[in-house]
């Protein structure tokens, strides 16, 4: 049975890569071939240390790593990634149903856990899911960065007025509160909407407010 490949996502981010870490040569190669067969980019590493030395931060995708390996284990690799603030989703592969370990890994932020033996379809589904999650994350991050740049361009007064507007105040109330004329407030209002590249307060709330939560 072949896996139905989801329709490619709109290209809004750089291409994703599946990073495969496993010390078993046949297994490593087979995962890479499987991923290539569904047109996914795969890169293989023989150990956690190998991945740590060669991974370039900011590269998107997901990580598929064996838990038990000579040298550093998959869990130790996960810890390292948390410390390095690498947000790549992680799929840990284990040979046994090791529930306490799975709980620990999940708590530390592992995206998924897959137990051998698994079918190729299962692996591909988990990988696709992790990639979608990573792309969403990267899109959000980029939007955040964009919004932040716009916010940085506001003056302190404009920022002050924006906060009061988003809290539901009208021009007159804000003028009274800040001892400014209604006209001046209106002027600032137009300017800040323009700087934030939005047409209305509703739109402004949509890009600014989720970040503040």
């Amino acid at each position: 049975m072949l896996v139905r490949i989801p329709h490619p996502m709109p290209v809004t981010t750089s291409p994703s890569t599946v990073f495969v870490v496993d010390d078993d040569p046949e297994f490593r190669e087979s995962v890479s071939l499987l991923l290539e067969s569904v047109k996914l980019n795969a890169e293989v590493f023989v150990s956690a240390e190998d991945f740590m030395a060669n991974y370039e931060s900011q590269r998107g995708g997901c990580l598929v790593s064996d838990v038990r390996m000579p040298g550093m284990s998959g869990l130790e690799l996960q810890k390292w990634m948390v410390e390095q603030e690498i947000k790549l989703p992680i799929i840990l592969v284990t040979a046994h149903a090791e529930v306490p370990m799975a709980v620990e890994a999940m708590r530390a932020g592992a995206v998924d856990f897959i137990q051998k033996p698994y079918s190729p379809q299962q692996l591909l589904e988990r990988v696709q899911q992790a990639l979608r999650q990573d792309e969403q994350r990267r899109r959000d991050e980029r939007a955040d960065r964009l919004t932040q740049n716009l916010l940085d361009s506001l003056t302190r007064r404009e920022h002050e007025i924006m906060d009061l507007l988003l809290d539901g105040g009208n021009t007159k109330e804000i003028g009274n509160r800040l001892s400014l004329s209604t006209k001046t407030v209106d002027f600032h209002r137009r300017n800040l909407l323009e700087k934030m590249q939005v047409d209305s307060l509703v739109e402004l709330a949509r890009i600014v407010r989720p970040r503040e939560q």
Partner: protein, 514 residues
């Protein structure tokens, strides 16, 4: 008392004249000397007897204060151990006999004929006779006491023996070599549900449960000898509830001085419960080891199976893409390699679980070592290892299965060759031991940790799982060496290389090595 040369005499005499006569008579004697105390009346005599010790009493039968015979009886009662010699003036045979019957030692007549020598002889003999009599009486009493004591001891011992034989659960039986019961205890009767009358004089062979049981017992009896009179064995029969039950028996043969078996004594114990527990334990152990093995196989086979599935799945996607030909080839190659790994694991498991007795012959161990080196060489060269042989020349041939031992040595050399990534030196030595030969395989690799050393012989324990190590090589080697009555040991610390020694006896059947 008298020391043999001096007698202390109590003279009981109411006639002063007679008393003087006797005193004079005895006083004139030089040897032995007589010391005389004189009592005129019987009651004086009784008093003196209670005050002093005397060797002899001379008693006049014609006393004024009593009848002579009564006086004699009185003195004989008061001093039963003292010889009494009766003196009288009367020549009356009847009185003399009465006196002797009443306990007098001797009887003398006071007349002109009484001489010092007669009196002395009579006293001396009287004293001696009395002393001998007393000694005999004392010995008799002692003998009686001893007999009574021994009898009591015997009775206690017999009681103890009876308690031992009857009072416990051991089955005890004595029987003749033809099987006839001569003695059975209560426990034996109860166990076999028969009365003593039904057993004694009847043979035990006809009601043994099978011919095999009977033959086993008969061959055990045949093995008994004067020098080796005890044999042990287990027997089974069918109990009253129809269930098979087991006993452990100890047979002791009783032989005559010509070494002919006269009788047998057997002590038995019911061990049915123990047998059942042992059986259950063995089953549980077997199940546990099957479980361990199954888990091990599952774990080992997981990786290559997953790899083969992944590669096959990928191959199905690549097969219609003309540009992906080399990718398709890589997939198929991966499937083949992974499947081979599975096959290797299964093969080793089968080898491990097979326990057929193997054929053996007398073999020069150095030849086997050389063959093993040739088998291991291709691997060793790939691993950049060099194998050096240091073989002793004076080795005895050993009784082994050549192929099995070669497999063991090849495995050890392989392990040594792969113990490090870089170049490695492997040295194989042979030497003579007290009971056989020793082969040691030494490497200058990284060595083993304590945990690795302890687990090295466990099935499925491997430090090279991902490189295709099945964790069965050393388990199999251990099994083979043990099957040859030998032993295999690992020495060496982490960081100091490893030495594995295999000791083989010349012939495993001549006794296992400790």
């Amino acid at each position: 008392m008298s020391d043999g040369d001096s007698f202390h005499v109590l003279l009981v005499e109411d006639s002063p004249l007679d008393a003087m006569l006797v005193t004079k008579l005895l006083g004139s004697v030089r040897s032995p000397r007589f010391r005389i105390q004189h009592a005129e009346q019987l009651r004086d005599a009784v008093h003196l007897l209670s005050q002093h010790e005397f060797d002899v009493v001379l008693l006049d039968l014609m006393m004024s204060d009593c009848n002579g015979l009564e006086g004699l009886e009185r003195l004989a009662t008061d001093a039963p151990d003292l010889p009494i010699i009766v003196l009288t003036g009367v020549t009356d045979e009847q009185v003399a006999l009465e006196a002797l019957r009443s306990g007098a030692e001797d009887y003398l007549i006071k007349d002109e004929a009484i001489s010092d020598s007669l009196l002395v002889r009579s006293i001396r003999y009287g004293v001696e006779r009395k002393r001998a009599e007393l000694e005999i009486r004392r010995l008799n009493t002692e003998l009686e006491e001893r007999v009574a004591r021994r009898t009591a001891q015997l009775r206690a011992s017999e009681e103890r023996y009876r308690n031992v034989v009857e009072g416990q659960t051991e089955l005890i039986v004595r029987w003749l070599p033809d099987g006839t019961h001569t003695f059975v205890n209560d426990a034996y009767c109860r166990y076999f549900e028969k009365t003593r009358e039904e057993l004694i004089g009847k043979s035990l062979f006809p009601w043994m449960s099978s011919d095999e049981e009977r033959e086993a017992l008969q061959s055990r009896i045949a093995s008994l000898s004067v020098d080796n009179p005890v044999a042990r064995g287990e027997h089974k029969d069918v109990g009253p509830d129809g269930e098979t039950r087991w006993q452990r028996w100890t047979e002791r043969g009783i032989f005559d001085e010509r070494g002919i078996l006269l009788e047998l004594q057997s002590v038995g114990q019911d061990i049915t419960e123990q047998k059942q527990t042992e059986g259950a334990l063995r089953r549980a152990e077997r199940l546990a080891s099957i479980g361990t093995m199954a888990a091990g196989i599952a774990h080992e086979i997981n990786n290559p199976i997953a790899a083969a599935l992944n590669a096959a799945e990928a191959a199905m996607r690549f097969k219609d893409d003309p540009d992906a030909k080399h990718l398709l080839e890589r997939c198929l190659d991966n499937v083949v390699r992974s499947a081979h790994r599975c096959r290797l694991i299964v093969e080793n498991v089968l080898k491990f679980s097979r326990q057929e007795p193997t054929e053996r012959s007398l073999v020069a161990i150095n030849t086997v070592v050389r063959d093993a080196r040739v088998s291991a060489l291709p691997h060793a060269e790939r691993e950049t290892a060099t194998i050096e042989l240091q073989l002793a020349e004076d080795l005895p041939e050993v009784w082994i299965n050549e192929l099995e031992i070669e497999q063991v040595l090849t495995n050890l050399i392989d392990n040594a060759s792969r113990s490090a990534d870089g170049p490695i030196q492997v040295t194989v030595r042979t030497s003579r031991t007290k009971h056989g030969v020793r082969i040691s395989v030494e490497d200058d690799g990284p060595g083993m940790t304590v945990e690795q050393r302890q687990r090295a012989f466990d099935p499925f324990y491997s430090t090279r799982q991902k490189q295709g190590g099945t964790g069965l090589g050393l388990s199999i080697a251990h099994g083979i060496v043990q099957g040859h009555g030998g032993k295999i040991e690992i020495a060496g610390e982490a960081g100091q290389g490893t030495v594995v020694t295999v000791d083989l006896p010349i012939n495993a059947d001549d006794g296992k090595m400790e």
